[in-house]
Symmetry: C2
Subunit: 215 residues, 2 copies
Amino acid sequence: MSGLIIWTYDWVPKGPRGFVRDLRLRWACEEAGLPYSVRTVPFDGRETNHLAQQPFGQVPFLTDGDLKMFESGAGLMHLARKSEKLMPRDPAGEAATLQWMFAALNSIEMVSVPWWFLTMTGQPDNALTGWMGNRLDQLEKVLGGRQWLAADRFTAADLLMADVLRVGKVRAFGDRPATEAYVTRVTDRPAFKKVHADQMAHFAAADAKRAAADS
Amino acid sequence: MSGLIIWTYDWVPKGPRGFVRDLRLRWACEEAGLPYSVRTVPFDGRETNHLAQQPFGQVPFLTDGDLKMFESGAGLMHLARKSEKLMPRDPAGEAATLQWMFAALNSIEMVSVPWWFLTMTGQPDNALTGWMGNRLDQLEKVLGGRQWLAADRFTAADLLMADVLRVGKVRAFGDRPATEAYVTRVTDRPAFKKVHADQMAHFAAADAKRAAADS
């Protein structure tokens, strides 16, 4: 028993279900065959009620025995170092995985999440749209030439990049066939399908509990 | 000789000087006492001329013997694993460093860079301003209680977080005394001062070369 615990919210509204980032850590554990359990902190009062565990009030955070860490990227790196299935052990394969994990977060998601946020707040044509299009076009060129980002096989970099790209409005923005095929390829993996269903079930069960408490 | 080469542009306009991200890697090498050299790719034509090295046309990228990697975060992680001065070797200290490196990039910079971009394009009061203020307020609470982010001493997490926070408009946004003291503390380090001066000199020398070519 590895003692891995993935912490998420006890409940979220319907919108973010299937996209809460505990999914990244569940997915990594499933790919690697690492046993884990899921525990919760309350969604209500999240701004302040678990700042000792996560200083921005977010989820997920991860505990592994005595170790604690927040940030899904850091948790994913921690898991990737436990399993060759997530990150090759040769220096070149490891470096390639590392660089594409950071690219997913710092070159794509750094644009796509604020762009999505502006879009959701009524500004579909905003000042980030051109930047977003450029980055996705550059990535399309990369994905036109290969099946996986690093080491010619699935790694944690694909897990993270596909999770960034599968957000509805991001995926629907423009026509990039290699990127679309890539997202489909990565999210067709059984481990993704399992953890997506698990997260949906987790929040659906919370609905049932809330309804029972209200009745 | 470690064979570390940090790649940056041959020239940039005055605005970004002192902030081009090769600085993060130079700084890490200086803190760790790792020998390195700096080489360049042309700024003109950067959109396409070095996509084989960096698929988004950016700098820096790092070569270490046969290894190549782009993304300043990935390069910094690579360097941090070479030196205990950048990242403690005990699991708890390493996990704390890792989580705060990702927090700098994915919880702060993911908001601050797009916010800065909107501000620079004539939208000082934009839809990201509230989000930005929240994140910086949360960080202010953390920094009110400690001198360093991880392991009670300087790590690569401080290097990265301070580099994110020292951007002029970000640093001037609101009044957060613990954060300001922190940025001052980290950027007062001799290694930062040296690499900042080195980067300024690098681009000033490029001005002189351009002027000579034009005359």
